[in-house]
Symmetry: C2
Amino acid sequence: MVAHMARPQSPDYDKRREAILVAAARLYAKRGFSGASIADVANAAGTSKSLIYHYFPAKDDILHAVMAEHLDALVAAAREAQGTGAPDANLRALTIAFMRHYVGAQDRHKVLLNELDNLTPAARQDVVAKQREMIAITEAILAEIGQRADARVNAMLFFGMINWTHTWFDPAGPVMPEMLALRVVELMQKGLSPQAS
Amino acid sequence: MVAHMARPQSPDYDKRREAILVAAARLYAKRGFSGASIADVANAAGTSKSLIYHYFPAKDDILHAVMAEHLDALVAAAREAQGTGAPDANLRALTIAFMRHYVGAQDRHKVLLNELDNLTPAARQDVVAKQREMIAITEAILAEIGQRADARVNAMLFFGMINWTHTWFDPAGPVMPEMLALRVVELMQKGLSPQAS
DNA sequence: CCTACCGATCGGTAGG
DNA sequence: CCTACCGATCGGTAGG
């Protein structure tokens, strides 16, 4: 059963909003936030400029929504992975979860990484808070594996590896995201030549 | 026969050009290429819009110059490191060289990583060719250390770690770039928990 | 009366 | 090397 809505909305409301965010993410990832106009986004989403302003009060809010919704999914995934079990299992679960979310969200992820400075201060603060939580969880997991004092640097190097994948990893290629995730975990644990030493 | 004397080049020519590139790199890194106008760059460089067009025919050419000059330095550093000696020594030399170049060129590096799609096709081809050379050298060095078949993926994960540093590493902080480079090398070689050695 | 949505156009500013 | 401009396009809003 459907709860009573406070305000009537088009039955396609969520679908249209999502279509706008998908189109915006693709354009912002390709040309940059300032390089894609509201009209461009409207065109790519198959709607009109006026409709966009019905869903988002300003251009910044589209960018904020793209980042925030993607980041919420990543934070939720990190929280789940944290309670998996042993330290190694936690890291494996975290990395696989991240890689699975990146696939199919490569545009959103690139936008998240590159366009932080184009947010308003309030929106930036919100996004940074979510990022901090994701980093804190990752740091806690890595602190159980490597030197505790190095957990921050290790977390940053770890994020470097997985955040960079959007530039070269092809989800349509032969390698599954889970396989790539396991390679990252193995590298974090044992390095390139575990057999020799 | 000579209607116009060739305009003598200012003795400050190179210095002014460099000042423009420094200002442009900072603005493009902060706001994105499309978010910073020619007038913004001129202002930040302490010159005029007209002067900018005296040094660069179009806005794209400033972007191209920022990327190409930074990348040339990286390729030269990679070539030098390649002949250092043993595989481990090569990787160490390469990583230290990269990290040293990133310090003081963080704006240029961010621009290189983010703004490739805003180049003209010809300029992009030029930049991509330089990048390919840098990747090939790195891949060759890593092929001597890990599994040869995995050299490409290992090179991408390696670039992820060092390319991401511009977002969190503070050159003015207590950690020297060389120390960070050695941590990356150690991670590549032995992972987080090097019990053996 | 409400909301959803469109075609047209606002005052300013972009690269050149 | 500046001011004056241009064709076009910007983010955002008007009336219906």
